[in-house]
C-alpha cells in the first residue's frame, strides 16, 4: 500500500484507510501526521468499533486541537496588538481556515500562524518587538517572530508571497471585502492558490490541498468577484493551476464557470504532473511553476528573484547584486543534465534577462579564458542586439555543453561563427547567430583588455598549429 495514496484517497472519497498489518498501520500514522490529516481521519472513524487506530489518532487529534487553539489565540492576541498600533491585519493560510472550514482547529494543524499586515510595516514590527516578540528570520515577503510565553511563531507578512510586487495587494479593497474576521471567500481562494502555486510550486500536504476543496464545498464563490480579485492580484494563472491540482489531488469540486475561466486556459506545463507529484514531500518544480504563473510579468519576476533581498525595517527590500545567479543557474543546469535541453528554464530566464536589461554583470567560474579572465572575475555583458560582437571579442554563447564565455575567432561574412576558449587547443563547433547571446564589454579587475583582436589571432594560431600537428601525426 502506498500510504500517501491511501490517505489521498481518504481525503478524496472519505474511505478510511485499512492497514493490512502493524507495520502498515505505523506507516499510515506517520504519514497522516506528516500530511496533517490525522484529525480528519479520527473524526471519520471515532465511534466505529471496527475501525483501526482510533486511540492513537485520538491522541494526535487532541494534541493538534490544543496546539491549534493556542495558535489561534496567539493570532488574535497579535491582531489586537497590531490594532493598538493602528495596523489592520488579516489571517492567511491555516489561521484563516482552521475554524472556518474545519470543525475544529484539531483537524487543520499549522506550523505557525500567518498574518498579513495591511498598514504601516514599521509600526507593526515595532509594536511586536515592544510586546516581547523576538524576530527570528527575515524573508522577502515576511518576518518570522517567536511569540513571548510559548513556543509558537507568528509570520508577519507584508506581501502574500515571495516576489511580492508580482501580486500587489490593494489593502483598502481587501479590507472592505473582508468576511467576519478573515478575508472574503474570493480573496481567501486566491490567497490559498497563490500560496500553493507560487510559494510551494504546487506541492502541498494533503490537508493544505483539502483547504481548497473545503472552501469550494462550504462557501459560495461569486465568479464575477473572483475574476476581479484574481485580476487585481495578477493571480489568474496561479488560481487556475491550484484549482486544477486540487481537483486532481483531493477531488476539489471546481465549478464549471471557474474551470472555464481559470483552468482551461492553462498551459500544459502547469497540469502535467500526477496527483502524488503534487503531495509533499515531492520535489516542487518551483522555478518552472513560477515562470508559467508569472506570464506577462516575467521581467518583474526576474528582477524580484535576482535583485530583491529580505524585507528591511521600513518595509522596503534589500537590493542584491545577484544577476550572476542566472549564469550560475544556467551553468548548474547544463552540468546537471547534459546534453543541453532546448528551451530549458535557465535559457528562458537568461533570454528574458538579456531582452530586459541593457547590461548584465556575471561572475566568471572557470579558467578556460585565463589569463584574460580568471575565476572570480566579474564581466560586464551587453546583449548582442546592443553591442554586436567583433572578431576577438569574448562572447556569451550557447555551447553544446552549456553556456560559455569564449572568444570569437571566426565570423561571417566569409566564415561561419566560431568561438574558442583561450586555453583550449580546439575551436568550438560552428555556431548559429542566435547562439551568440551577449558581448563582454568590460571586466573587473580588468588585468588585460578583454576585447582583443590580437588575443584572438594568437588563440587561433595555436588552434591551427595543433590541427596541423594532429594531421602530421596521423
Amino acid at each position: 500500500m502506498d500510504v500517501r495514496d491511501a490517505l489521498r484517497d481518504f481525503v478524496k472519497t472519505g474511505a478510511a484507510p485499512r492497514p493490512a498489518g502493524a507495520a502498515e498501520a505505523q506507516a499510515l500514522l506517520v504519514a497522516a501526521r506528516e500530511q496533517g490529516v490525522a484529525g480528519l481521519w479520527h473524526e471519520a472513524v471515532a465511534g466505529d468499533p471496527h475501525a483501526d487506530l482510533v486511540e492513537p489518532l485520538a491522541t494526535i487529534h487532541r494534541a493538534w486541537l490544543a496546539r491549534g487553539l493556542q495558535q489561534l489565540a496567539l493570532l488574535e492576541r497579535t491582531r489586537e496588538l497590531l490594532r493598538g498600533a493602528g495596523v489592520r491585519s488579516l489571517p492567511l493560510s491555516g489561521g484563516a481556515v482552521a475554524e472556518r472550514l474545519y470543525a475544529t482547529a484539531g483537524q487543520r494543524p499549522m506550523s505557525d500562524v500567518d498574518l498579513l499586515a495591511l498598514d504601516d510595516w514599521t509600526a507593526a514590527v515595532r509594536q511586536l518587538r515592544s510586546a516581547g516578540y523576538e524576530e527570528e528570520e527575515r524573508a522577502d515577503h515576511a518576518w518570522s517572530f517567536r511569540a513571548p510565553g510559548g513556543p509558537w511563531r507568528v509570520e508577519l507578512h507584508r506581501h502574500l508571497t515571495s516576489c511580492g510586487r508580482l501580486f500587489p495587494i490593494d489593502a483598502e479593497a481587501l479590507w472592505a471585502r473582508r468576511s467576519g474576521e478573515g478575508p472574503s471567500s474570493e480573496d481567501l481562494l486566491v490567497h490559498l492558490a497563490l500560496h500553493a502555486a507560487f510559494q510551494h510550486g504546487l506541492v502541498l500536504s494533503l490537508v493544505q490541498w483539502c483547504d481548497l476543496r473545503r472552501l469550494l464545498e462550504r462557501e459560495t464563490i461569486d465568479v464575477a468577484r473572483l475574476r476581479a480579485v484574481a485580476r487585481e492580484l495578477h493571480a489568474e494563472r496561479a488560481l487556475g493551476a491550484a484549482l486544477h491540482a486540487a481537483e486532481r489531488v483531493v477531488g476539489a469540486p471546481v465549478p464549471e464557470p471557474l474551470r472555464a475561466a481559470f483552468v482551461q486556459p492553462l498551459p500544459a506545463a502547469l497540469g502535467e504532473l500526477g496527483p502524488l507529484e503534487r503531495v509533499a514531500p515531492a520535489s516542487p518544480r518551483l522555478a518552472r511553476v513560477r515562470w508559467h504563473v508569472a506570464r506577462g510579468r516575467r521581467l518583474l519576476l526576474l528582477r524580484a528573484t535576482l535583485t530583491e533581498g529580505p524585507l528591511r525595517e521600513d518595509g522596503s527590500q534589500e537590493r542584491r547584486r545577484a544577476l550572476g545567479r542566472v549564469w550560475s543557474l544556467a551553468r548548474a543546469r547544463r552540468r546537471a543534465s547534459p546534453p543541453a535541453v532546448p528551451g530549458c528554464l535557465a535559457d528562458e530566464a537568461l533570454d528574458d534577462c538579456l531582452a530586459g536589461f541593457d547590461r548584465l554583470r556575471l561572475t566568471v567560474t572557470g579558467g578556460c579564458m585565463s589569463p584574460s579572465l580568471e575565476p572570480g572575475d566579474t564581466v560586464v555583458l551587453e546583449p548582442v542586439r546592443k553591442t554586436a560582437p567583433r572578431f576577438g571579442d569574448v562572447v556569451l554563447l550557447r555551447h553544446p555543453a552549456g553556456l560559455r564565455l569564449h572568444r570569437l575567432v571566426w565570423r561571417p561574412p566569409f566564415l561561419r561563427w566560431r568561438t574558442k576558449a583561450d586555453r583550449s587547443p580546439f575551436c568550438d563547433p560552428p555556431l548559429r547567430r542566435q547562439d551568440l547571446l551577449a558581448t563582454v564589454v568590460g571586466s573587473a579587475p580588468g588585468r588585460v583588455r578583454v576585447r582583443s583582436g590580437w588575443a584572438a589571432l594568437k588563440s587561433l594560431t595555436a588552434a591551427l598549429a595543433v590541427r596541423i600537428h594532429l594531421k602530421d601525426a596521423a
Binding site: 487532541r62 490544543a66 510559548g150 513556543p151
Partner: protein, 90 residues
C-alpha cells in the same frame, strides 16, 4: 454567577467535549480536560449572564436528575473549574 476565563476554551471533537488551556507551553496533553455530557452542558451555559439556579434548572429539564443532585453536580464542577482558573466569579 460565573464567567468562563479567556485562558481556557472548550471544543467538541469526534463526539467528546474537551477544555484546552491557552497558556501552556506547547500542546500539553495533560492539560486537556475531557468533559462528560453533564459537564459540557454546564460549561456551555457559564457565560457570566446565566445564574447557577438557572443552570441547575436547565440540568433537571435536560437530564434525568433530581434538583438536589443537579445542584451538587453543578457546585462540584464549578469548584473544580475555579481551581483550574477556568472560571471567574462575576
Amino acid at each position: 454567577m460565573f464567567a468562563r476565563s479567556a485562558r481556557i476554551v472548550g471544543r467538541r471533537i469526534a463526539g467528546e467535549y474537551v477544555l484546552v488551556p491557552l497558556v501552556t507551553h506547547g500542546a500539553d496533553l495533560d492539560a486537556i480536560y475531557n468533559l462528560n455530557a453533564v459537564a459540557a452542558f454546564i460549561w456551555e451555559r457559564i457565560d457570566g449572564r446565566t445564574s447557577g439556579d438557572e443552570i441547575v434548572s436547565a440540568l433537571t429539564e435536560s437530564f434525568e436528575v433530581t434538583p438536589g443532585q443537579a445542584e451538587a453536580d453543578y457546585l462540584e464542577f464549578v469548584t473544580r473549574l475555579g481551581e483550574l482558573g477556568a472560571v471567574e466569579a462575576v
